[in-house]
């Protein structure tokens, strides 16, 4: 019931609505009166106390003593009396009788009988109200009420802020965020209440709490109960406490469950809450213990809670307020302080010790998880801890895999398969191998059973031996440590006491709860069907029994293997070390020793291989041996053989092995189970039926957790049960293949052969440890590295695959950012995507490319990535090439084992190249196609360094850039004709001299300053890039004269010079050009040019003068900037007499002529330089195009209109300006404006009476169209 709801009801029922302001005023006035009266009353009476501090009552109905009397009592004893009920402030309602309706209304409130007050006063302290409750069914007894009370709490924490309630402790305690916890409040109350002799009171309290606790449990599902209790198992050994505290986990669970999703938001708060809980809980426990006969412990606790102990409280508060994880150790210290008898409680007693540990130590414990077990220095590992978390550093993947236990196991299996393969092929090649073991056995047999040869020949029956080392890692680990033999030993990376610091953001409880919930189905089955046996050991290891608020401090390092002694104590492989340490306190830990594992495994395989080569490697410590032929040959019994093998192994490795013998793989494996530890078991065919009937289904291969749970739901727990199911039923449930397999397996039938070489289904590399990306690029490079790892493995296996699957583990939404296990993945959602390639590959690059594609397609937040795996399936052997594989096969076994990666270089090389070249070529291709550039012309005759056009398209943006930037660095000195004399005069003298000197210098060596006859485009320097060919400015380095860098114009071939343009040039420019061309020594072109120039000059005498003036002015304006354009070729050509003459057909260039080619078009006078114009403009990022300074369209319109209407015959120069403007518009990508301008001009000019205007428009349009055509590949549609 929410507060709002109540309020609403209250206001409706009591008719208080609308009187809020008045009522509020009245209430506060009454309160004031009450406060004023209180001291007076106290003086009068003299028996005042503070029993009821923090209590505010409201009297409902008739009571005895009367309401007035109660008011007086409250005044006397520090409480408050409310004449009107206020939900938020009133803590208790006093009544002796209530109508049903009101009970409903006040559900969730503390309605107590008035005796509570009188008795409390009599007792001298505040009694628990619970016994005085009017209706026992009300608040505090129901689960739902917890919330309500929780809500109410702020009120109580609000009150103490009033000065009148200056209880020494109320200050320190009240403001704590106790709102989530009923119990916490209760406990707080009990602590802040009068401590003198409140012992019995607290006792009551506990009773109350216990009531609550049991009630809440009833309201819970049965299945959850053990868990709820379990949470505190560690802290409380007393049964009493167990129940008492049941409420606590309840509450915490509640908050955790409901807040699970927002947890990350609240993260800063949450741990504190639980800490508060823990803290309070400890207080509770302390008090509890104190009520046990040990009074001295109470005395101990008393001060800690009352006077000096308020320090503890304030400590706690500071812990809450600072909320920094660094304070957490403080909690443990606290625990220690408060715990009177740590020894009585091993679970918590460990905590204080832990709490004293230095932070750094903990870092080491964490950090060393994956590091080589040799103890590392603190600093080093803490560095490691800080540095890790990205998983991106180079080599981290290979480092990871070189340290990963799983990886070792997985690769070894392959290696041993290879080993066996190699043995076989070698023996085949040698025409028979020497089996030393076999010979020995033969001899042995001959020795001891020479007499009874007849016993040996048996019915030829297949016989499989399953050889399995006993707790391999452990026995190898303690090989040379005899002192550890017979003791509980576990192989794990954690070497400390099994405790680590809690990390920020980690929330182990949540994770445990998550896994518990996940486990629930199984657990239910467990209780339902008495299936103790079906539970695989793994299931037990699930921390269902170990959830502990303190668990945060337990080491999360997993136990790789543990000795049988440890297993007896309940420790299981895969269990977290911290938990195991709790189960078995004297558990010894042994570090990993991969080298030793390798040695032992190798000698085990060598031993086996000395008997036969029919070996299937299952893992590094496990192998199947097909002994059928061997037995027949030797004539020994399987038991003898097994014994011999075991003795051999023990002798050579110092470790024991167990052997299961059966007629097939399945039975052999089952036999091993029975044989262990250090034994052998021959499952004879006649006893198979009886044997297998009792086996749990989970012992069948392929029956994992999910399948066994499914089987359980079918009522199947043992193989005997399974035998009852028909094959059709099984196939229906599990699919045809699995169904049949199950059907056969449960009857002990297994026709799988012992295969020395198993076909691989997939090659993969996966890493879900320490994956913390912050950026996409990190993930990308990680994927690339992972692909390399996959490539390595595929090459090692000589396989290629077609299907690439990317598996990603993402932090489950709402899961804590930092998982309980350091660097672990925590609670995750798994995602996978796959892609099928056209052809099999083992190229890491290709795999990476695909993986990255998949990765992007998944659209994941890299920050939440916790694990990445790459898998390649649909494998095809690449054995086709014997040269690659042959030698590696034939090499010595040791080499094979030690050198993990056989050299496949001859095969690898071209592949890698493939991977390289393919994308790039396709890229070039696509870019070529994607761009709208007109189809490139056939390979130019110029000395284009680029072999193909497509590649050139890719590259040339860079090179010319370089050239250009280089050019821009130096100051270009324009030619004399281009310099405004006034500007020159304004220059400082020295600079002016330099400029003039450079001119002089240029004139002195004209032949060198201009490029000789070579056409500009064939010049060696710039690749085709921006085809600025005709105008590339080059600076000549003139040694000795640093400042006189002259400007060199690459002159277009003279044939390219439009005579009309030339004619339009100012005099000086013409002269300059003429001399330039003359100097070029190309007599013919020169003569031609001059001839035409002269001719042109004659034909335009009238035009020339005005043009020069105008042009020059504009020129200066435009060229004020150093980014100088070349001289004449810029200027747009202009047809002489009749614009009609220059029909489009003439002016239109053969459309996409590459500039490169143009220079070769000798004598093509009509070829326009429009493309030059275009490319030129690209060069200079020009400002907004303007027409005679006008920019806005309206201005331009006015201008144009003025032009057309006022002048009867347009001047060439003006038309040229318009064309120029239009061209600029095109380049500025403002087609809209161009379109408007053209249309406007069209209207204007074609309306004009003069046909010249019409022709002028045609001319403008033609030119614009050319530019547009050049730029966009199509022409403007002018309607």
């Amino acid at each position: 019931m929410s507060r709002d709801g109540w309020r609403k009801k209250a206001s409706e029922d009591d008719g208080w609505a609308g009187r809020g302001g008045y009522m509020a005023a009245k209430i506060s006035k009454l309160e004031e009166q009450f406060q004023k009266d209180a001291p007076r009353e106290r003086q009068k009476d003299g028996t005042s106390s503070c029993i009821f501090s923090g209590v505010a009552i409201y009297v409902n109905g008739y009571t005895d003593p009367s309401a007035d009397e109660l008011r007086r009592l409250m005044m006397l004893h520090g409480g408050q009396f409310h004449l009107y009920y206020t939900h938020s402030k009133t803590t208790h309602i006093i009544a002796t009788n209530l109508p049903n309706r009101k009970i409903q209304e006040l559900k969730g409130e503390k309605v107590v009988r008035p005796e509570w007050i009188t008795d409390s006063i009599k007792a001298g302290h505040q009694l628990s109200y619970v016994q005085y409750q009017l209706y026992t069914k009300q608040k505090g007894l129901k689960f739902s009420s917890v919330c309500v009370r929780g809500k109410q709490d702020p009120s109580s924490s609000h009150e103490p802020s009033k000065p009148s309630l200056n209880h020494p402790q109320s200050d320190s305690i009240k403001p704590q965020p106790s709102h989530t916890q009923t119990l916490s409040r209760e406990v707080l109350k009990s602590t802040h209440a009068n401590h003198k002799d409140n012992f019995t009171e607290r006792r009551n309290h506990q009773l109350d709490v216990r009531l609550n606790g049991s009630c809440s449990i009833i309201s819970e599902e049965d299945a959850e109960r053990p868990r709820v209790n379990g949470i505190h198992d560690e802290d409380d050994d007393d049964d009493d406490d167990d129940k008492t505290c049941a409420l606590l986990p309840k509450g915490s669970q509640n908050t955790l469950l409901t807040n699970g999703d927002v947890h990350s938001v609240n993260a800063a708060l949450k741990p504190q809450d639980s800490f508060a809980e823990l803290q309070l809980h400890v207080v509770e426990t302390g008090s509890h213990q104190s009520h046990l006969p040990q009074t001295e412990s109470r005395d101990q606790e008393e001060p800690s809670c009352s006077s000096a102990g308020s320090k503890a409280n304030s400590h706690q508060r500071s812990l809450i307020s600072t909320a920094s994880p660094a304070k957490q150790p403080g909690l443990h210290n606290m625990q220690k302080d408060l715990h009177p008898k740590p020894t009585s409680n091993p679970g918590t007693s460990a905590a204080p010790q832990k709490g004293n540990l230095h932070d750094q130590t903990r870092v080491r414990l964490n950090g060393s998880h994956l590091m080589t077990p040799d103890s590392s220095t603190l600093a080093d590992s803490s560095n490691q801890a800080g540095r890790s978390g990205k998983g991106t550093e180079d080599g981290i993947i290979s480092e990871f895999f070189s340290h990963s236990r799983l990886h070792h196991i997985s690769t070894w299996r392959n290696e041993f398969s290879e080993y066996v393969n190699a043995l076989q092929s070698r023996s085949r090649a040698a025409g028979g191998a020497v089996f030393s073991g076999k010979e020995k056995l033969k001899k042995l047999k001959a020795n001891c059973s020479s007499g009874s040869l007849m016993a040996a020949p048996q019915v030829r029956q297949s016989c499989i031996l399953h050889v399995d080392m006993d707790c391999f890692f452990v026995s190898v680990g303690i090989r040379h440590r005899p002192n550890l033999k017979g003791k509980p030993v576990a192989v794990t990376s954690n070497r400390g006491p099994g405790r680590v610091a809690k990390r920020t953001g980690a929330n182990p409880q949540l994770e445990f709860q998550y896994y518990q919930r996940k486990q629930k189905p199984y657990r239910k089955e467990k209780t339902d069907g008495d299936l103790e046996m079906t539970l695989s050991p793994q299931r037990d290891e699930v921390p269902s029994n170990g959830v502990d608020l303190d668990l945060a401090a337990l080491s999360m390092a997993e136990i790789a293997s543990c000795s049988y002694e440890a297993r007896q104590a309940g420790v299981r492989n895969g269990m977290f070390f911290g938990r195991a340490k709790q189960l078995c306190p004297d558990l010894q830990s042994v570090p990993y020793d991969f080298q030793a594992y390798k040695e032992v495994a190798l000698s085990m395989y060598e031993t086996l291989a000395s008997y036969t080569h029919n070996i299937e490697a299952l893992s590094c410590d496990e192998a199947l041996v097909d002994a059928t032929n061997l037995l027949v040959e030797l004539g020994v019994t399987p038991d003898d053989l097994a014994r011999a093998i075991r003795e051999d192994i023990r002798e050579k490795t110092g470790c024991s092995a167990s052997v299961g013998i059966g007629s097939n793989i399945l039975l052999a494996r089952m036999g091993t189970r029975k044989a262990k530890p250090n034994g052998q078991y021959f499952l004879r065919s006649e006893e198979v039926d009886d044997f297998i009937r009792d086996q749990p289904v989970s012992s069948l291969p392929g029956v994992g957790r999910s399948m066994s749970s499914k089987l359980t739901s079918l009522g199947v727990s043992t193989c005997g049960d399974l035998q009852q199911l028909s094959i059709s039923r099984l196939q229906r449930e599990f699919g045809p293949r699995t169904g049949q397999t199950l059907f056969r397996f449960c009857r002990g039938l297994d026709d799988r052969p012992v295969r020395s070489e198993k076909e691989r289904k997939s090659v993969s590399a996966e890493m879900n440890y320490n994956i913390r990306f912050t950026q996409v690029e990190e993930a990308e490079s990680f994927l690339t590295n992972l692909s390399k790892e996959v490539q390595k493995r595929m090459e090692g296996a000589g396989l290629k695959g077609r299907r690439i699957t990317l598996k990603v583990m993402m932090r489950k939404p709402g899961a804590p950012v930092e998982p309980a296990k350091y660097g672990g993945h925590g609670i995750c959602d798994n995602f996978a995507r796959s892609v099928l390639l056209a052809q099999p590959t083992d190229s890491g690059q290709l795999i990476a490319a695909e993986a990255i594609k998949l990765f992007y397609a998944m659209k994941l937040d890299v920050k939440d990535m916790r694990g990445v795996g790459l898998q390649v399936q649909q494998l095809e052997g690449s054995y086709a090439d014997p040269s690659g594989q042959g030698p590696s096969r034939g090499r010595s076994i040791k080499d094979l084992l030690l050198a993990k990666q056989p050299a496949h270089s001859p095969r690898k090389e071209p592949l890698a190249q493939d991977g390289l070249s393919e994308p790039s070529s396709s890229r070039a291709f696509s870019s070529n196609q994607e761009r709208v550039t007109p189809p490139s012309s056939p390979p130019s005759t110029s000395s284009d360094p680029m072999p193909g056009t497509s590649k050139g398209g890719l590259h040339h943006p860079h090179t010319p850039n370089h050239v250009r930037t280089y050019l821009n660095v130096s100051i270009e000195v324009p030619s004399p004709s281009q310099v405004d004399q006034s500007v020159l005069e304004a220059l400082p003298l020295d600079i002016r001299k330099q400029v003039e000197q450079s001119w002089r210098h240029r004139e002195e060596q004209p032949s060198t300053s201009f490029h000789p006859s070579t056409p500009p485009r064939t010049s060696s320097s710039p690749p085709p890039g921006p085809s600025l060919g005709t105008l590339v400015l080059q600076l000549q380095n003139q040694p000795g004269q640093p400042c006189t860098t002259g400007i060199i114009l690459e002159l277009p071939d003279f044939s390219q010079v439009d005579p009309e343009v030339f004619a339009a040039l100012p005099r000086e420019l013409q002269d300059e050009l003429c001399s330039a061309y003359r100097n070029k020594g190309n007599a013919q072109a020169q003569a031609q040019a001059q001839g035409s120039a002269v001719e042109q000059k004659k034909t335009f005498p009238q035009l020339k003068q005005p043009v020069v003036g105008k042009l020059k002015r504009r020129y200066k304006k435009r060229n004020a900037s150093p980014a100088k354009k070349g001289p004449s070729p810029l200027k747009k050509l202009f047809p002489e007499n009749s614009p009609a003459k220059s029909s489009p057909s003439k002016t239109l260039p053969l459309p996409p002529i590459h500039p490169d080619l143009k220079t070769e078009n000798v004598q093509c006078l009509s070829s326009p330089s429009t493309d030059v114009l275009e490319t030129l403009s690209k060069l200079n990022p020009r400002p907004v195009p303007t027409l005679a300074g006008a920019y806005e369209f309206s201005d331009i319109r006015t201008l144009l209109s003025e032009w057309v209407t006022t002048i009867s015959e347009p001047m060439e120069e003006d038309i040229l300006q318009v064309v120029k403007y239009c061209t600029e518009l095109v380049e500025d990508k403002d087609l809209e404006k161009l379109y408007l301008v053209i249309k406007y001009m069209k209207r204007l000019m074609q309306q004009s009476s003069e046909s010249v205007w019409s022709m002028a428009f045609d001319f403008i349009l033609d030119n614009v169209q050319v530019v547009v055509q050049q730029t966009y590949g199509s022409t403007l549609k002018i309607t």
Partner: protein, 210 residues
């Protein structure tokens, strides 16, 4: 107010969001205006405060959305030069190309107060231009289809290959046939210039459509 460069946080994204939103509206409208699909599948909606037509065919909408989703990363990085809506006849020869030519100024000065309303005005103008563009265009032959092309700057295609935004919805290199249009006429429709974006829309139309 604040002067932001392209590198500034998610600025490219803002532009891409705005632009893709606009392109979606524009594509729908083009399809409607150019009669690529029967007008029955279009509904009148309001965008940029002007009525627009939007298809209500889920598959078509999905296609457009997916396409633009793939365009977006390019725009974000300023790698898209042009986004082209090509309308093709039955033989898959383009008859009209609606070209959105995009360029983004390298330095952006953003005045947040006026920016958005200003951009919206410009986009609105463009939408209005599209809605009346049939006046300047010839009718399309029946049975037209459409496709969307993107012209990228430089080597952007390389990345596109890698970053497949939607799985199995990759970009492919356009056929020459789809890109090239014989005797095309160019009709500029609208140019907009704002602080964040410069874009012009023009149509290239085949001279002889039938």
């Amino acid at each position: 107010m604040a002067t932001l460069t392209r590198q500034d946080l998610n600025f490219g994204q803002v532009v891409a969001d705005i632009l893709c939103e606009f392109l979606e509206v524009a594509i729908h409208l083009i399809l409607y205006v150019r009669d690529v699909y029967p007008s029955g599948i279009f509904q009148k909606r309001k965008k940029y405060n002007v009525p627009v037509q939007m298809s209500c065919h889920p598959d078509l909408n999905q296609y457009i959305q997916d396409t633009l989703h793939c365009v977006k990363p390019l725009i974000e990085k300023n790698e898209a030069e042009k986004v082209v809506v090509v309308i093709m006849d039955k033989e898959h020869h383009p008859v009209e190309r609606f070209v959105f030519e995009i360029s983004q100024p390298p330095l952006l000065s953003i005045n947040s107060e006026t920016l958005l309303s200003h951009v919206e005005q410009l986009l609105r103008a463009m939408i209005l231009k599209i809605s009346v563009c049939d006046a300047v265009l010839d009718n399309n032959p029946p049975g037209c289809t459409f496709t969307v092309l993107v012209h990228t700057r430089e080597a952007a295609t390389k990345n596109m290959e890698k970053v497949q935004v939607i799985k199995d919805f990759p970009w492919i290199v356009a056929d020459e046939q789809e890109v090239h249009m014989e005797e095309a006429k160019l009709i500029p429709l609208k140019t907009m210039t704002s602080d964040i974006l410069k874009m012009q829309l023009y149509v290239e139309e085949k001279t002889q459509k039938t």
